[in-house]
Amino acid sequence: MTAVISPDTHHDDAHEAHDHHGPTGVLKWLTTTDHKIIGLSYTVTAVLMLVIGGFFAELIRVQLSAPYEHFLSFAQYNEVFTMHGSIMIYLFAGPMAFGALANIIVPIQIGAPDMAFPRLNALSYWLYLTGSITMLSGFFVSGGAANFGWVGYAPLSNAANSPGAGADLWIGALLLTGFSAIFTGVNICATVFYLRAPGMTLFRMPIFTWNLLVTSILILLAFPVLTAGLIMLYCDRHFGTHIFSVQGGGVPVLWQHIFWFWGHPEVYILALPFFGMVTEIIPVFSRKPVFGYKGMVFATLTIAALSLGVWAHHMFTTGVVLLPFFSIMSLLIAVPTGIKLFNWIGSMWRGQIWFSAAMLYAIGFVVTFLIGGLTGIYLASPPLDFFTHDTYFVVAHFHSVVMALVMGGIAGLYYWGPKITGYLLNETIGKIQFWFLFIGSQVFTLPLYILGLRGMPRRMAVYPNNPGWQHLNEIATIGAVLIGISTVLLVVNILVSWKKYPAGDNPWDGHTLEWFTTSPPPHHNFYRLPQIRSERPTWDYNHPEAPAIAHGTHEEK
């Protein structure tokens, strides 16, 4: 194995040398088209949204810690949980998944100098930022923010039932962030298809990049549908159309079809990037290649394929959908997901596991996701969904999943943060933070499963008729407080470790190309590249004596 390359080969750029001169300060931030700076802006904004959304979560949990709490009024409660869901899904999880780390890492992982459309990439960020401002500004208009749940079910979200600017701001914010997502999807697809380094065939791409490619395809399939639905909703509200209202011959359930046709692929759009992060982290810290690389890729593609046929499992109880079709499609999703889970275990098997903070989060992800995944299988069965739908069982299920995703995301921050900033985060605080987050997640979600089975519906501001639910709710609130502490610890850690622990180019003995370049990478990412002959070019370069071996192609040592 030899590293080839003189400084000026691959990323030769017609107009700029590597010593990049440009504006500094705020103007640099406003005008940059560098995917790393845009990605960093995304990361900071998304973490800020996590903090805001998390704050709303704490408000919800305080309100629910007693059967008839007066901490929030009914109206305030509806606004708070709507904004909690909207911020977490639209403004945190999505942008964190495909805007933040993806933006920074994907081009570097495939040896590209930047995204295919750098200015479009910058536009994505500005649309995301202005969309976030639009949504949050709902709190400052008369009538308050949107209050019809993050799903905005049609007759409730029409002009008669939800008048006011808050709902319109919600629609506007979704239009902006929706276009932001579409542009990012276009960008990642084009980058992966056209800007790979020589030798980086599709089946040598790191799993993270693979997952982002599939995510981007799903974005392009799903987000336009949401945008169309939002425009219809806006027309219903202001231009007197009757697409979703019965009086004019419209069909309210149509909104649910459109919304969930976006909404369920969206779940995988959120999940796949974090799956990818974990798939990068586990093998690196186990010092092994990804177990079943090709199986992993096909599992991801299968999830994408099936994801377009499962939306109505959110609508089983409407009574107007084809139950068996959506049931079998949803159940089948469990198969590729299971393959991924076993591949993660297989990657650890007989490895040399280093329990860095990033690895701890990755393992926490796998365990928490196991719980969330298994409880999801119940919901794919209509008879079982009939009595768990819209109860806290569903809330618990998807919070298990999203708490797992949060762990995956923080694993990514600990793992790739040093590459972006050049400095490591404090490992000890990271591990303490992990245990707060991991235990907090379980203490938070497990009581909610039981509450759901006892019959507690979602989106209840009070439960005066069921004082017996109080204790379980109190436990969940304690869990939420633990999660809150872990978030504070993350911020503390960033402040404490600020420019303290220099990382070096390859602190983790990484596998993929981003660990070949400097930390932080230069303006167009690489001064030189290694030969790419497997999905672990950096590993092959550093450990030429230990290439990956397939089962049966080697002698036992």
Binding site: F74, P252, G346, Q352, S381, F386, D390, I549, A550
Partner: protein, 286 residues
């Protein structure tokens, strides 16, 4: 009810015998599955309707699967984490593929999914079945309360957030319940019946309950419907057929008629504030 594998091409008597033995082995298993009483509840209600009990048994078997698979996978993770901690600077064997193993954990989940789907379809067909019956109740959901009318009878019950209405229904009889909404979407949810169904504007949903014992159960709106969603309760009172008939006749007396009239007016006011109820199903399938 058992799914029988279709015989392979040119299957001889031997394979038939083999299949018989297989079926014989399945019978006690199926019996156990149908009894279900030896299994823990896994947190769900045993339910007081026939279909609710079917769902409950399905729940138990899903849970058995989840617990077995979950425990197995969890132990694998724990073993990997404990056993393979980094001990030195050696590089472990760089094994990447193990095709038989990977096929195994693809095929076994597919089989499990097949079994779960089969159970789902069997139970689902019972839950959504609508046998012919004379006892009918019409549920009208509105912001924020419920109205129960009994087609062909004088009885009308209406209630809101300050006064929960009670839906009276007979035990041991198929009761057809039609559900609709006058304004936004609501969820007609009775936890102890293991059932919920949306009340949709413009659509009339139908479900059949067959209660197996008398008692009073709580129900409430499960789908966010605006400000007082959390207070949209109702009660379901399952009584003997005799009591049910007597209760219905109570509305035929002058006093009862007056009460029913008042309730109906209240319902009409609610409905005129909301939407006209279109009885035809305008959305989606059937």
């Amino acid at each position: 009810m058992e799914v029988q594998p279709s015989p392979p091409q040119g299957a001889g008597p031997q394979s038939t015998k083999h299949r018989r033995r297989w079926i014989a082995a399945l019978i006690p298993l199926t019996a156990l599955a149908l009894s279900g009483c030896t299994l823990p509840s896994f947190g769900a209600y045993k339910s007081d309707t026939t279909t609710g009990q079917d769902s409950y048994r399905l729940w138990q078997w899903f849970s058995v699967g989840a617990v077995v698979i979950g425990t197995f996978t969890f132990l694998l993770i724990v073993w990997a984490v404990l056993r393979y901690r980094r001990k030195g600077d050696t590089i472990p064997k760089q094994s990447q593929y193990h095709i038989p193993l990977e096929l195994l954990y693809t095929i076994i989940p597919v089989i499990i999914v097949g079994v779960l789907f089969w159970g789902t379809v069997v139970v689902e067909n019972k839950v959504v079945a609508m046998p012919k019956t004379n006892v009918r109740i019409h549920v009208n959901a509105f912001k924020w309360g419920w109205g129960f009318t009994y087609p062909g009878q004088n009885a009308v019950v209406v209630g809101n957030t300050t006064q929960e209405p009670t839906m009276v229904m007979p035990v041991g009889t198929d009761v057809a319940v039609t559900i609709t909404s006058t304004d936004v979407m609501h969820g007609f949810y009775i936890p102890q019946f293991n059932f919920s169904r949306y009340a949709l504007p413009g659509v009339t949903n139908e479900v059949t309950f067959h209660a197996v014992k008398t008692g009073t159960f709580t129900g409430q709106c499960s789908q966010l419907c605006g400000l007082y969603h959390s207070l949209m309760y109702f009660k379901v009172k399952v009584v003997t057929v005799k009591q049910y008939t007597e209760w219905l006749h109570g509305f035929d007396t002058p006093a009862g008629k007056l009460a029913a009239q008042a309730a109906e007016n209240a319902l009409k006011i609610q409905m005129s504030a909301g939407l006209p109820v279109v009885s035809a199903v305008t959305a989606g399938v059937n």
